[in-house]
């Protein structure tokens, strides 16, 4: 199975940022736009742009894959390599040695000078489905993560790990080892899907217009942000979506055919937009008191 060919491609469409002419609220025209989604800040031509936009319905072009420098650590090969005398079935140790080798060969270690003529670059490491049943060995995932953190602290590497946490959810809740794993990582985010939930939160958490087309598919929880070389997480202060731990900005995600987007959500207006009309059959002008219910006389009214 060639995972690389399944990576999504980039969108070609740029967002048109023309603001329509505001006739009434023209005073607000010059204020910065606050949008529920983050704007894609495309740099000027020649600058490196971060945060690409991806189109989930297309695949990454083959030429881009060939041009990129990708080191693939194949699971089947690891399973084979770990059977030898050196590892004795310990896949975690085998993968750790592979990662250490790639870091050393590519000049990503901060403990060594890069090879002559080689420019320093950053290695992006992705570990997919860590902790799933595929991983075997005497080394536990905790020892692996501890050793990985030690390795990465002295390298120019950013690592993203995906953990299938549903495998660690038992009848009595989540296994405590997940909390240990969270402590061993610098940043922790969790996608909580509404699928299979008993009460559908989508009925309560509405999109911009209530309707199936804009409903959310789950929550995004940010449990922890990296706090290296600092008391606070630098990322939390600079972002408007997640302002320093306050629950002011709750995040939900929705997966459409072409994109996966993350937005802040808020509870919609109480009672709904279409249900706010006072019932017509009550001709007597009624004052709304605290005991009033639509259609019935207020017991406190006198």
């Amino acid at each position: 199975m060639d995972l690389q060919s399944q990576l999504p491609g980039w969108t070609s469409a740029r967002r048109d940022k023309k603001d329509p002419d505001l006739k009434i609220a023209w005073r607000y025209q010059n204020l910065p736009r606050v949008d529920k989604e983050m704007e894609n800040t495309q740099g000027t031509a020649g600058e490196m742009a971060f945060c690409e936009r991806f189109d989930l319905s297309t695949r990454i072009p083959r030429e881009a894959l060939e041009r990129a420098k990708i080191d693939l650590i194949d699971g089947d090969k690891i399973a084979e390599m770990s059977q030898g005398d050196r590892y004795r079935g310990d896949m975690y140790k085998c993968v750790l040695d592979e990662i250490a080798r790639i870091i050393d060969d590519g000049g990503f270690s901060s403990l060594q000078q890069p090879p002559a003529g080689h420019e320093r670059n950053i290695l992006r490491l992705e570990l997919r489905s860590l902790g799933s049943a595929f991983w075997r060995g005497d080394t536990s995932i905790l020892q692996f993560l501890h050793a990985l953190r030690g390795l990465l602290r002295y390298s120019y590497v950013a690592c993203v790990i995906s953990l299938p946490v549903h495998l660690y959810d038992g009848d009595s809740g989540r296994l405590p080892v997940v909390r240990r794993i969270e402590h061993l990582c610098d940043a922790v985010i969790e996608l909580e899907s509404f699928e299979g939930a008993y009460a559908k939160p989508t009925d309560i958490v509405g999109g911009r217009k209530a309707g199936a087309a804009t409903e959310y598919h789950g929550f995004l929880h940010i449990h922890k942000l990296p706090r290296v070389n600092s008391l606070t997480a630098a990322g939390g202060r600079l972002s408007i979506l997640h302002s320093g731990g306050g629950s002011a900005n709750n995040l939900a995600f929705r997966q459409r055919r072409k994109k996966f987007c993350i937005e802040t959500y808020h509870l919609p207006i109480e009672g709904g937009v279409t249900e706010r009309r006072v019932p017509e059959d009550n001709k007597k002008p009624r004052a709304v008191g605290c005991g009033s219910r639509p259609g019935k006389p207020d017991p406190l009214e006198f």
Binding site: L142, R180, H183, L184, S230, G245, S247
Partner: protein, 203 residues
């Protein structure tokens, strides 16, 4: 250190540091990390820092931001010097050199729970100076933390607020040896401790 003056005053420690021959335990949770208290102990006269979680650069940067320009700390790297097949005896060679340290030493251990991750089941505290240990308290580490708490003279408990997250207050700090109940807010260069409701941003 200026940051910790409020806290030190409410704890009634005459020198600002815990008395010698004592053990202090700092319990953290995921949303309220307690290692923000470590710079206070690191600023004592002679400090030895044994860290399982961060490199020396991390602590040096933090101390510099808080205004300590030449931190005199002996750093022991337990993050990378720990082999995957850690045996209990592996820690003893590392700790015997401690016997040669001056009397007034503070030993700060950050992230002791990593020993549990490595497969150890018991920890010995064997110091003549002061021992300060930072651990994470959860179901996994409960036994270890309870054992340490029984041996400790001072226990600090860092937790998130029971009422939810807030951008003005990072968490709350309680202590068992004294009726201390403080809220705190972590900023990049300092930590502010205040009584609940007395935060400068709220008043």
């Amino acid at each position: 250190m200026a940051t910790y003056k409020t806290l030190a005053a409410s704890l009634d420690w005459p020198t600002g540091q815990p008395p010698s021959q004592t053990t202090t335990l700092i319990c953290s949770s995921l949303s309220a990390p307690g290692d923000i208290l470590l710079p206070h102990f690191l600023s004592s006269d002679h400090a030895v820092l044994l860290s399982f979680t961060q490199t020396s650069n991390h602590y040096m940067h933090i101390l510099r931001k808080m205004g300590v320009h030449r931190p005199k700390i002996h750093f022991v790297n337990a993050l990378t010097d720990f082999s995957l097949d850690a045996l209990p005896s592996a820690t003893r060679p590392k700790l015997t050199w401690l016997a040669g340290q001056p009397e007034n030493t503070t030993l700060v251990v950050d992230g002791l729970c990593s020993l549990m991750d490595q497969g150890m089941s018991a920890v010995q505290a064997l110091l003549g100076g002061r021992l300060v240990v930072s651990v994470f308290l959860d179901e996994f580490t409960e036994k270890l933390v309870r054992a340490l708490a029984r041996r400790s003279h001072y226990v600090f408990n860092f937790e998130g607020l029971a009422s939810g997250a807030s951008s003005d207050v990072s968490g709350q700090l309680t202590a068992t040896f004294k009726p201390v109940h403080l809220h705190y807010k972590v900023a990049d260069t300092a930590v502010q401790f205040f009584s609940p409701g007395q935060s400068r941003t709220v008043l």
